[in-house]
């Protein structure tokens, strides 16, 4: 679950990280009111995607009138598919050094990794490509986490390839940055965040450390531990819970793992690998997949029905390929879901089912009795659905 900037900042504040004073505005008037009360501000579109600056989603304003005008403009924007419905009005941070601080999952090291760079700002990915030594990394111990000396070591590492002037200031920089580094790690750990990023992290002349932008993504598998946060964020407008694609929005509501694509063959399978392979097979046989839909392991007949209904919402879909290799998923359970969906939803579009694995005898029997002829080879089934839909 991706949090919007202002939601992420509220979380970071809870862990003791300083963020600029700001407020939410959902209308131009609210933005104007905020500026009237608090003075000049940056008005920032709240969308769960990068690049909003270039897309015109940020305006620096001095007066309430300007705020109203800019807010009105930004609220009409659609940034990479995300319509802007929430703004964040925020006091400007004084001129300061722009650092980068992030924590994310490092699969290769089976650990979280903390990253710090004095070369923060928009271009951090470029820094990673061209001058990777400028990004210092630390891998927290799974149990012990990050100690103050680890944080100080990270700051020293970030400065080793920096200017001699900054190196001279390392004592002050270590003192200034250590609390924020420890807090960001604690935030990631306690929020089950797979990414927690501050860019830029401003360090002012007087040594204050301020998170000027923030991104947090919470592990979806761990959301059950953060129910109240989840509810709260959803209640606050739920910008972060909204996918840019309307079908994907719908799928999220239905709790389905669904990705919308451009083609016309609806694809459903159990297991991400199998569904990806299903898409590959459709393409190899000359068809174009309309979606990716993984019902996961051990799906119930209800879930299968739910999945079929979801896929059919896309009117571009000319037929559906259901590819099941039962392991923990039981073929009879899936078969019941397919039959129920076909009957209750009155599906008339072509339906090709490939079914094998756990309880396959039972499942295939059910399908045959219901007049659906199941295949056993995925390749043959792919060929069948493509020939049924290509010119439909």
């Amino acid at each position: 679950m991706k949090l919007l900037e202002y939601q992420a900042k509220e979380q970071l504040k809870r862990f003791g990280i300083t963020t600029p004073m700001g407020g939410v505005a959902r209308t131009p008037k609210e933005a104007a009111d905020w500026v009237r009360a608090h003075g000049p501000a940056a008005i920032k579109a709240q969308v769960p995607i990068g690049g909003r600056g270039k897309a015109g989603g940020i305006a620096v304003v001095k007066t309430p009138e300007e705020a109203e005008r800019e807010a009105e403009r930004i609220l009409t924007l659609d940034i990479k598919g995300y319509p802007v419905s929430v703004l964040w009005c925020e006091q400007a941070v004084p001129d300061a050094e722009e650092w980068y601080l992030g924590v994310t999952l490092d699969r290769a090291n089976r650990s979280l990794v903390l990253m710090l760079s004095a070369a923060g700002g928009m271009e951090i990915e470029e820094v990673a490509d061209t001058a990777p030594e400028k990004i210092a990394k630390f891998w927290p111990h799974a149990w012990r986490g990050v100690a103050s000396y680890d944080a100080r070591g990270l700051v020293l590492d970030a400065l080793r390839h920096d200017t001699p002037e900054r190196w001279e200031r390392r004592g002050k920089l270590m003192s200034a940055l250590t609390p924020t580094i420890l807090a960001l790690y604690a935030a990631a750990r306690d929020l089950d965040a797979v990414t927690c990023e501050i860019n830029p992290l401003m360090i002012t002349a007087d040594g204050s450390v301020i998170a000027a932008d923030a991104k947090i993504e919470i592990d979806e598998s761990a959301l059950y531990r953060h129910e109240s946060l989840h509810r709260e964020l959803a209640a606050e407008g739920g910008g972060s819970l909204v996918d840019s694609d309307p079908f994907e929005r719908e799928a999220r509501k239905r709790n389905l793992t669904y990705v919308h694509l451009d083609g016309y063959v609806g694809c459903i399978g159990n297991g991400a690998g199998l569904v990806m392979n299903t898409l590959d097979l459709v393409k190899q046989h000359g068809g174009e997949p309309a979606n990716f839909l993984d019902v996961g392991g051990g799906a119930s007949s209800d879930k299968v029905k739910n999945a079929l209904e979801m896929v059919l919402m896309d009117e571009k879909v000319r037929g559906i390929f259901i590819n099941i290799f039962g392991g923990i998923t039981r073929c009879d359970e899936v078969a019941r879901g397919i039959i129920q969906a076909r009957d209750e939803l009155h599906i008339t579009k072509p339906l090709v089912v490939r079914m094998t694995g756990t309880q396959e005898e039972e499942g295939r029997k059910l399908l045959r009795e219901a007049g659906i002829v199941p295949g056993t080879s995925a390749a043959e089934a792919a060929e069948a659905i493509v020939s049924l839909t290509r010119n439909a």
Partner: protein, 296 residues
Amino acid sequence: MSVLVDRSSRVIIQGMTGREGRFHTEQMRAFGTPIVGGVTPGKGGQEIDGIPLFDTVEEAVKATNANVTGIFVPPPFAADAIMEAATVGIPLIICITEGIPVLDMVRARALCDEMGVRLLGPNCPGIMTPGECKVGIIPNHIGKKGNVGIVARSGTLTYEVIQGLSQAGFGQSTAVGIGGDPIHGLSFTDVLELFATDEETAAVVLIGEIGGSDEEEAAAYIERSFHKPVVAFISGRTAPPGKRMGHAGAIISGTMGSPQSKVEALQHAGVTVADTIEEVVTAVAAHVAPTPAHIH
């Protein structure tokens, strides 16, 4: 021979009295797996289908001398189940559960390493040595005893490959599903190292997918020191790149994880990379002879 499990394994099941645990325990027994106990807190002393239940992993191991555990407990409790087994020192822990919070797995994996035990999974189909032992959820009837080793990230594609090979007459030494979660136990390389010294394995099929860098690491290992033929397949090659947010992931992974990166690394290591499951079978046929019919 085979790797990790065989007829001498002594297997317990954590979460045996749950819906999935009970169903698949039956399946495993039908396969011939030596299931010696189950663990469900509060049910110690009872039996289920003749298998003794225990309150704790420790008691189960004391009573049965188990050396493998299969975990079927729900996601909020699964990392704990792994750690309970690890602290008792069970040498092979196989976790089937899907949807475990990733930071739980960071800790559980670290504890397994600290305790010197092997973890397979989570979110994996488990392991099958045809004719001897199965722990997990791979369908019973698709395997065939033989000399092809399989190691795969995707569960369902593991089944596809086993079935494809069996139908074409190529039996398997052991099929190992390592699971697709970001933080997991045995890697491709770990399993390849086992196959390297397994006399019964003549060739290996490696089934990867987009994301992560396990395949690239396996390619480096193969190039360095794996001398048996390897056939690979990478799924998700036509999938659109997922949307991502923030820079942190990109800084860490760089270009690792793309299908191109994986295919190129494997080909560079001398691996035959197949475009479809059918091609996997054809490529295996170029390296090993079909398993004689009398073996199963």
